[in-house]
Amino acid sequence: MKQLMLGNEAFARGLYEAGCGFVSSYPGTPSTEITECAAKYKEIYAEWAPNEKVAMESALGASLAGKRSFCGMKHVGLNVAADPLFTISYTGVNAGMIIAVADDAGMHSSQNEQDSRHYAIASKLPMLEPADSAEALKFAKIAYELSEKHDCPVIMKMCTRIAHSQSPVEISDRVEAPAKPYEKNPQKYIMMPGYAKLKHPVVEARTTALAEYAETTPLNRIEEGEDKSIGIITSSTSYQYVKEVCGNKYPVLKLGMINPLPAKRIKDFAASVGEVIVVEELDDIIEDFCKKNGVACKGKELFGCIGELSQNIVAEKLGFETGKCEKLDESIPARPPVMCAGCPHRGLYYILKKNKVTVIGDIGCYTLGAVAPLNAVDSVVCMGASVSGLHGFNKANPENEGKSVAVIGDSTFMHSGITGLVNIAYNESNSTVIILDNSITGMTGHQQNPTTGFNLKGDPCTKIDLESLCKAVGIKRVRVVDPYNLAECDTVLKEELAATEPSVIISRRPCALLKYVKHNGPIDVNADKCIGCKSCMRIGCPAISIKEGKAVIDATLCTGCGVCKQLCPKDAIGC
């Protein structure tokens, strides 16, 4: 019986059926649900690690111990884990190990559009790329076999449209993996120069063996077409767009293994068709390989390397008709994401804006403090960059001290903010770091983290105490504020900016969307008292709008946080 599964859920099912015993990941859209779904199987130990590097190293440790292991991350997470990645390629594994990386072409929820296929080439590791949920399940099983046969981790590359699309899968029972007891083997597992020099040729020989496998594996397949004037080479979601448009018109070489690529198979395919067209999202990985191997083809000159593809884009470039459509001749206001009504970050951002401080920002829901009307954030780069960026900003120009802060969420701080804070303490910049502690990993959909007191399985566990942690790394001034209390935030911010040593302000209030959070209930505006001054509009709460010159609060959205009430000069709100 077929059932619908999200690509990520099917991937997790594949891990389960293949006997995976250990999962360690850091959440990141669009990869998060692989780990969340894997955690639902009691046979799999699953955890959230503080970051992707820790996750990957833990997964390697589990592999050495003899358990089939997994770690999953989004594309930018693989940058964090790149250090172990390149050397695990040398050590290889004991039990099978899979690394999932999920790209986000179109940047639905990401800060860049990098193409993770480069990592497979650079680290000399095999990479598989499923094109729907059924393949995600099947490829996970094949990946473990390849990993154990060729003694290396296997990268599975997902993308938003595969990870977050449901399609039919057929499930089967779990098969326990064979026991693989750990055996001490210094030449294999200790990568110091003497041993690593011996290993590099092994890695190159493995790539040659995997390239031979790529020539015959059913992971790559040719689908015959009626018209051989064009042949299409494609993979992943691009394959789906090609088939949607062309059906069986042109022959298609569908690649499920993206590294190494099969040179002979591609040459043979090219020889059997007229013109070769490569359809791939983002960079020209397949196209470049074709050209290096003397196969003339068209790719990026048609499709470019920016954003997602779609069936209409493929249709247009291949000369097919697209459906007629009617566009409304009307300016439709954009609807960008916003901080939720009751979001604890809002009050703090308002105070930062009011005090005209430079805000070095970070990755999470609170990045949304950058948009109108708060416009409170100055820069956002990557996980942890707020804390270390602020240090450089203040060191390079001490005039910035007392007028600048870093803002970073609790989960992001645990991920990679701590090392930046150590730098502030050690190299003594007079910096003020604000930890926006909403007691959850928010943007990716409420994952636990080391500061929440619960683990991935939902069980109580050690809760890292942020105050003690900051003090332990050498920050003497650590303050805690309630971001719903604007006066308190204002006073403490001014005091800490005025201080002549590093400080941390913990702005603590759980995410308003957490189920256990009790709200006061909506408050309303006394229309007789409201003078329409729009003071309450300055915080950008989606529940507040102006109608006929007076503020009104949408009772279906309002949580009663009371931040707007503190801005009203006429006591017209909630009175």
Partner: protein, 190 residues
Amino acid sequence: MKTKNIMIVGVGGQGTLLASKLLGRILITKGFDVKVSEVHGMSQRGGSVVTYVRWGDKVYSPIIDKGEADIILSFEMLEAARWTEYLAEGGTIIANTQQTNPMPVITGAAEYPEKLDEKIRALGINLDCFDALALANEAGSSKAVNLVLLGRLSKYFDFTEEDWMNAIEASVPPKFLEINKKAFELGKSF
């Protein structure tokens, strides 16, 4: 059979994901090939969200492109207007007349367009719009808008009452089941 396409559009947090999950559940039990595509992450924070539901003998692309949707089910009027060009010729928009102001409207940088229903109909589009929020409140919760809209959508399918009820029971937590069933019936019979 030709692949059928439904887009479910709305504002992040309105429950569009449950609606598509429920629809997918029915379609797979009917033996169709099905793809349901969602976007998670940042847009779910009050942004414009879209879910694609496609079914037929063989479905390839997980997304719906411009000019392809047979039905657009919209949880909000401005979102209905935003996605009109995705509708296929002769397609239908089912919309909740609820108006949720986006931030550019709240801050005064833009205006919420007036008479969107008339403007959509002027394009020759079949527009089936009604106050789903009022019916959800009548059922017992403003959060049941998604089931009201699914009730309305059910009139465009020839699935049985039992098909829908089974899918609702499988998709909704037991303590909200009665409210959701009532919301479905209100949307269907309105």
